[in-house]
Amino acid sequence: MSVSGPLYCGKGDTAGAYLLGALPEDEAHSFELHLAGCARCQRDIHQLASAADALGGAVPMMTAPTDLGDRIRATVRAEAELLQAAGPEADRPAQRTRRWQSPRFALWPRFAVAGTLAVGILCGLVVGGSVLGSSSPRTRTISASVLQPGVASDVSATLDVTGEHGTLNVSHFPSLPAGRVYEVWRVVAGKKIPTDALFGVDSRGDGTVAVPGSLHGVREVLVTAEPMGGSPVPTSSPIIAAST
């Protein structure tokens, strides 16, 4: 018997719990690190994955609401047109995986800029907070407050709200140091709710990210600088605040 077998590696039956998503995040991460060097656990994952995967397709089949498809397709069409219009600058590399097939999306900086500004300190530099107007009858563009010391005067952030969905746009923002990423938060009933929206800015300091989920009941959209991969709770003060 191999010394890397479950009786010896100390991870015994963990593969099943991992595939079912039953491990807390820190334990799942620890198992992933272990998995890289344990042939027995890799074999367990390979053997059990088909059964775990099958569970997702084994639920009673329902019809997705028509308006859901309409909303998603409209967003995709709009983004496809923006990509076409933006030209080569539209390239958007993907990001990390939290679990083996769990994508969280982000817009990473294309170039690292050394010596960027420290972030997370409120200074009260308020660019604005009013509704500027609309690019279409259904879209409101909200000017967000930029709360960061020492930023250039031309920095700006806006939140485009269409229906119950928002897209955050930043301009001339500093790139973050290596290992840091901008994270979007939704404020509901005074609580900061983390989102999967992690982003960076391009070489011009520009970035765009969709605010996941509905803005219904969301009082404010915030952006903080967090460790790579995002954080479940804010570890720094907001840099951007947009009141919806």
């Binding site: 015994g12 039956d13 963990t14 593969a15 099943g16 719990a17 595939l19 079912l20 998503g21 039953a22 491990l23 807390p24 059990l48 088909s50 059964a51 775990a52 995967d53 099958a54 569970l55 997702g56 397709g57 084994a58 639920v59 089949m61 329902m62 019809t63 997705a64 609401p65 859901l68 498809g69 909303r71 998603i72 397709r73 995709v76 069409r77 983004e79 496809a80 990509l83 076409q84 030209g87 080569p88 539209a90 390239d91 958007r92 993907a94 990001q95 939290r98 083996w100 097939q101 769990s102 994508p103 969280r104 999306f105 709710i193 983390p194 999967d196 969709a210 996941p212 989920g213 509905s214």
Partner: protein
């Protein structure tokens, strides 16, 4: 490195008829290059399954819609991350839906309200079979449900509590008053039996 737009430029424009003839994996290649038509077809093929899983986990139409929307937009924005070697497009999409639904469930801590969600919605939204492929999938889903139901109840219970209700192994251990190691062992045994019975029944995943 070629830009996304330049890659878009190299895509041949296909008629709807030809596009529909492409496999999911081929559509994903086009989707990753910004082809919205390819996304439409991927959505058309898998939206019902994605929504059904999201609803099964979240228990409400609104939450299921939010999860499904987030998952499909993530698919659109990160399609290039799909790797065929890791399984089918359908399982990849359902994996995204599952993770996002469970994350939302844990964030909201709404295990109780979820179960008192949209009563009767499932019946109102039961999907009609539209194609032979959908008939096959529905039958296969029914087979897997049967196989899952035939597992020893202690094994089936820990699998369902984890996968569909989002409980961690420690939460399940507390709930059932058994050691964590026993929970993990039952999960492994249950999955192993399910895999073997799927093979015997000729279920493909």
């Amino acid at each position: 490195m070629p830009s996304r737009l330049s890659r878009i430029g190299r895509l041949n424009v296909l008629s709807d008829h030809h596009l529909r003839g492409l496999a999911d994996e081929e559509l994903m290649v086009r989707l990753s290059r910004g082809d919205a038509d390819a996304f439409d077809l991927i959505y058309e093929r898998h939206a019902d399954a994605a929504f059904s899983l999201a609803y099964r986990i979240s228990g409400s139409r609104a939450a299921a819609e939010e999860v499904a929307q987030d998952a499909f937009l993530a698919l659109w924005r990160n399609g290039s991350r799909y790797e065929q070697s890791r399984g089918s497009v359908r399982n990849w999409i359902l994996g995204i839906v599952h993770n996002r639904a469970i994350d939302a469930l844990r964030r909201a801590v709404r295990h109780e309200s979820r179960r008192a969600g949209d009563e009767g919605l499932a019946e109102r939204l039961m999907a009609p079979d539209r194609t032979d492929e959908e008939v096959d999938r529905r039958e296969e889903a029914g087979t897997i449900r049967t196989l899952l139901g035939d597992l020893p109840s202690d094994q089936r219970r820990v699998i369902e509590l984890a996968y569909f209700a989002g409980f961690t192994h420690t939460e399940i251990a507390e709930m059932l008053a058994i050691p964590v190691g026993t929970v993990k062992g039952r999960m492994r045994l249950g999955l192993e039996k399910l895999r073997l019975r799927m093979e015997i029944s000729g279920v493909r995943t």
